[in-house]
C-alpha cells in the first residue's frame, strides 16, 4: 500500500511538472506571452505539485505516515481549488459564441480548458489518496533518487517561470491583460 502511495505521488508530481513544461514550451514555440490568468494557473499548478512532492520527500526520509499523506493531499486540493476557480473564470471569459479564445488551441482545447481538467483530476487523485488512508498502515521507505529528481525538475520549472515573468513584466507591478511582447527587452 505504501509503495502505491509513492507511485501515485510520483505520477501526480510528474504530470503537473510536464504540463507546466508543455505550457512553457508552447509560450516560446507559438511566440505568445502568457496573460496574467494563465500565469496564475501556472502558479496554482506549481503549488499543487508541492503536495505530492512533500509526500515523496517524507517517503525518502523513511517518515511516510498518514499525517504526511493527509498534509500533501490537502496542499494539492487547496491549490487545485484555487487553480480551478482561475481556469473557470478564463473559460467563462471566452464562452460567447464566435469568441476565438486566448492563444492557440492545443489538441482541440485552449490551455486554460486543459488546466481546468488537470486541476479537477488532481483534486480527484488527492481525494482518492485520502480515502485510501483507511488501508494505510505504518511507515514506508521510499526512493530518495526519485524524490531528488522530482524536486530538481519542479525547482527548474519554477526558476524558468520566474525568469520568464520578469522578462515579460519588466519592472511593472502587474502584467497587462493582453500581453503581446516581453517588456524587459
Amino acid at each position: 500500500m505504501a509503495r502505491l502511495y509513492v507511485l501515485a505521488n510520483v505520477a501526480t508530481a510528474w504530470c503537473l511538472a510536464l504540463v507546466l513544461l508543455a505550457a512553457f514550451a508552447a509560450q516560446f514555440l507559438s511566440g505568445e506571452p502568457p496573460c496574467p490568468l494563465c500565469l496564475m494557473q501556472r502558479i496554482a499548478m506549481m503549488m499543487a505539485a508541492l503536495g505530492p512532492l512533500s509526500v515523496l520527500v517524507a517517503s525518502a526520509r523513511g517518515a511516510l505516515s498518514s499525517r504526511e499523506i493527509a498534509v500533501g493531499a490537502s496542499i494539492a486540493i487547496l491549490a487545485s481549488l484555487l487553480g480551478a476557480c482561475i481556469a473557470t473564470r478564463q473559460v467563462l471569459l471566452h464562452i460567447l459564441p464566435g469568441d476565438p479564445g486566448f492563444g492557440a488551441p492545443m489538441l482541440g482545447y485552449h490551455l486554460y480548458t486543459w488546466c481546468l481538467v488537470v486541476f479537477v483530476c488532481t483534486i480527484l487523485a488527492a481525494a482518492l489518496q485520502l480515502c485510501g488512508l483507511t488501508w494505510f498502515q505504518g511507515q514506508a521507505q521510499g526512493a530518495p533518487a526519485i524524490a531528488r529528481v522530482t524536486a530538481l525538475l519542479l525547482g527548474l520549472v519554477i526558476v524558468g517561470n520566474i525568469l520568464s515573468v520578469i522578462a515579460e513584466a519588466g519592472f511593472a507591478w502587474h502584467l497587462p491583460d493582453n500581453p503581446t511582447r516581453y517588456l524587459l527587452f
Binding site: 471569459l93 525547482g155 515573468v165
Partner: protein
C-alpha cells in the same frame, strides 16, 4: 513583478519541504493567500482585453 514574488515564495516553500523545515506549509499558505488576493483584484478590475 507580483507574480514573480509569488513564484519565489513557492520556490522557498519547495526548498523548505526538501530540508524538512517547519516553514514549508506556512510559506505555501502565504503563496496561496497572495495568489487568491491577486485573483480577486483581477476579477474586480475592468477588463481591457478584446472579446
Amino acid at each position: 513583478m507580483i507574480l514573480a514574488i509569488i513564484m519565489l515564495i513557492i520556490l522557498a516553500s519547495l526548498i523548505a519541504f526538501w530540508r524538512g523545515s517547519r516553514a514549508a506549509v506556512p510559506l505555501f499558505l502565504l503563496a496561496l493567500i497572495i495568489t487568491a488576493v491577486v485573483f480577486y483584484q483581477d476579477m474586480t478590475t475592468p477588463l481591457t482585453i478584446s472579446l
